[in-house]
């Protein structure tokens, strides 16, 4: 079975992001970039499936300018077999990404697609679900455990209030939650070997997909600064504040 993993290049999780002076976007100049952490978990899961003998090939795909080849190389160093860059200088919205990925699915016919549940930049949490809808594949989102049993995929999902187990028929779409696994490091020898693994490039036009945006970003701003707290003198004052000022009671 071939496993397709979609990954995104995002600002490194350790970087403190800043909004551009003109409030148009987040500042990306000279900022350290990395694989989206949820995508990294997706890569790790695919590699584990291969190590367990369930997957025969791990194909990793990313959509973006040539800089995203850096993240594809990292994925190859982690253990993916080949990489595909869908080259665009645009920043496509989730629906466009899902359409592009559907085109890749049509081309490659994977037995499973694994994605991060969301990227830490846009936090949309839509692409996996949209891809499942477009391809007609069943979906197991927010996975904290994935097991293959015969033709079926058992996915444990993290939902409000607990865990839910679903059984999906393959091929299927899985999106990863934080606790699915702990990604490995790419060893230095594997980083060197990754250079020799195939990395192919296609464009949205090659795939016949229109990625023009449907949304307009009006403004990007910092969250409001947290105001200083206050000390209350008594329980009754606390209750009064919660009722009238905070409005939570």
């Amino acid at each position: 079975m071939k496993v397709l993993v979609a990954i995104k290049r995002v600002v490194d999780a350790n970087v403190k992001v800043r909004v551009k002076a003109d409030n148009s976007a987040v500042e990306l100049a000279n900022i350290k970039m990395a694989i989206n952490p949820f995508c990294e978990i997706a890569i790790e899961e695919a590699i584990r499936l291969k190590e367990k003998g369930h997957a025969s090939e791990v194909l990793v795909v990313s959509i973006g300018p040539d800089t995203c080849q850096e993240q594809l190389r990292t994925a190859l160093a982690l253990g993916a077999d080949r990489a595909l860059q869908i080259k665009t200088d645009e920043s496509p919205e989730p629906l466009a990404v899902a359409k592009l990925l559907k085109a890749v699915v049509d081309q490659e016919q994977p037995g499973m697609v694994i994605l991060g549940k969301q990227s830490i930049d846009g936090d949309n949490n839509q692409t996996g679900q949209m891809l499942a809808a477009l391809t007609g594949m069943p979906q197991g989102t927010f996975a904290s455990e994935v097991a293959i049993e015969g033709d079926a995929l058992q996915v444990t999902r993290e939902i409000d209030g607990g865990l839910q187990k679903v059984s999906l028929k393959l091929p299927a779409v899985v999106t990863t939650d934080l606790r699915l696994n702990e990604p490995r490091y790419a060893s230095l020898p594997n980083i060197m070997k990754a250079k020799r693994k195939p990395l192919e490039t296609q464009t949205p036009e090659d795939l016949g997909i229109d990625i023009s945006p449907r949304l307009t970003v009006l403004e990007v701003t910092n969250p409001p600064e947290r105001a200083a707290g206050i000390k209350v003198g008594s329980v009754s004052e606390l209750v009064e504040k919660l009722k009238n000022d905070a409005g939570v009671l």
Partner: protein, 385 residues
């Protein structure tokens, strides 16, 4: 000429940084306090490839350049200076065996050394032979197919917890030409390990004296030929100096990063420290000098990689400059932390303690000046540029 890291170097550095952030940094304070030698973490580092960076590929090394190694070590040192320093010593000793050992010796030690499953120590300094290393007194007497080792070595990093010792011993005349190098099984009979030294820093690696009492070493364990020892030692130390200079830079960068954050967090007189020009200027000087030191270390590494005729002078200049700058930057970073810098809840005092020894070992900074001055004053020699 290009001053940017290439794609590989970026990937190596990213991975080394992530490894150091997760595997070193959270434990560094505890290793320092408890004087823990983190052998398991060194093994994990070996699995990642950090234990044979510039050893050749036929014995499991990665065959990387010294410049690549410096870029990698710098990231590791940001997580734990002392542990990274040990890894660099291990790399140096492993490279010596791989480069100068005969095939049997290479195959006996190097595959496991490059994998981090076994560890190596380097034994040059003696109680009465420090800066004057060529006056060393440990002897290796030839008897049939063996050499018999007698003498003492001090300040040996990792001693008692490592598997192989690269030992410099006298096989012939007084002075540098009578010295030979050996790869000695650290568990051989007649090797006595002294008590663990109490040190100012570098506490995540044990430092001990080693005494050799009629230790039988097979003749095949000789590295290079008889009399090559001092040359091998100095060749190893050119790279060793880059490594130690690199550890200073990584540590100083970690200290600088902390200081920068602290200047935004800490408020006095109603404003952030970052608003005080005295501290702004201090920080500007720190970062300027650190960048200069880093470039100098990389230049020296590049000279060493290219086999430049003056590589030893460049390595000496880089070691002197970067270890002094690294110490001063760590010290100034501590100063920015004020009283908090002096207490162990923060890593600032550890950065200073760990960086201090870099001005002493791998040749003191005074000896570095001797090397540089000798080269500059050499008559009829080409200019150093």
């Amino acid at each position: 000429m290009d001053f940017e890291l290439n794609e590989d170097q970026i990937a190596f550095a990213d991975m080394a940084r992530a490894f150091a952030q997760n595997e070193f940094e959270p434990h560094a304070a505890e290793w320092d306090q408890e004087q823990t030698f983190p052998v398991d973490v060194l093994r994990a580092a070996g699995e990642m490839g950090f234990c044979g960076l510039y050893s050749p590929e036929d014995v499991g090394g990665l065959g990387l350049s010294r410049l690549d190694a410096s870029i990698i070590f710098e990231q590791l040192a940001m997580g734990c200076t002392s542990t990274t320093a040990f890894i660099t010593i291990h790399n140096m000793a492993t490279w010596m065996i791989a480069d100068f050992g005969n095939e049997d010796t290479r195959q006996q030690w190097c595959p496991e050394l490059t994998a981090g499953q076994k560890l190596a120590s380097y034994c040059l300094t003696e109680p009465n032979a420090g800066s004057d290393a060529a006056s060393l007194k440990t002897t290796a007497r030839r008897e049939g197919d063996n050499y018999i080792l007698n003498g003492s070595k001090i300040f040996i990093s990792g001693a008692g917890s490592t598997d192989v010792l690269v030992v410099m011993a006298r096989t012939g005349v007084d002075g540098p030409k009578g010295i030979s190098a050996f790869a000695v099984d650290a568990k051989a009979e007649g090797i006595v390990y002294g008590r663990k030294e109490e040190k100012m820093g570098w506490n995540s690696q044990p430092t001990r004296m080693i005494t050799f009492e009629d230790v039988v070493v097979p003749a095949s364990a000789l590295l290079g030929n008889e009399g090559d020892g001092f040359k091998i030692a100095m060749k190893g130390l050119d790279g060793g100096r880059i490594n130690i200079a690199t550890c200073s830079i990584g540590t100083a960068q970690a200290a600088l990063n902390r200081a920068r954050e602290y200047m935004h967090e800490r408020k006095q007189f109603g404003k952030e420290l970052a608003n005080f020009q005295a501290l702004q200027f201090k920080l500007a000087d720190m970062v300027t000098e650190l960048v200069a030191a880093r470039q100098m270390v990389r230049l020296a590494a590049s000279k060493l990689d290219a086999g430049h005729a003056d590589k030893a002078a460049y390595c000496a200049m880089a070691k002197r400059f970067a270890t002094d700058v690294g110490f001063n930057v760590a010290d100034e970073a501590l100063q920015i932390f004020g009283g908090n810098g002096y207490i162990k809840e923060y890593p600032m005092e550890r950065y200073v303690r760990d960086n201090r020894v870099h001005r002493i070992l791998e040749g003191t900074n005074e000896i570095m000046r001797v090397i540089v001055a000798r080269r500059v004053l050499m008559e009829d020699a080409a200019d150093l540029i």
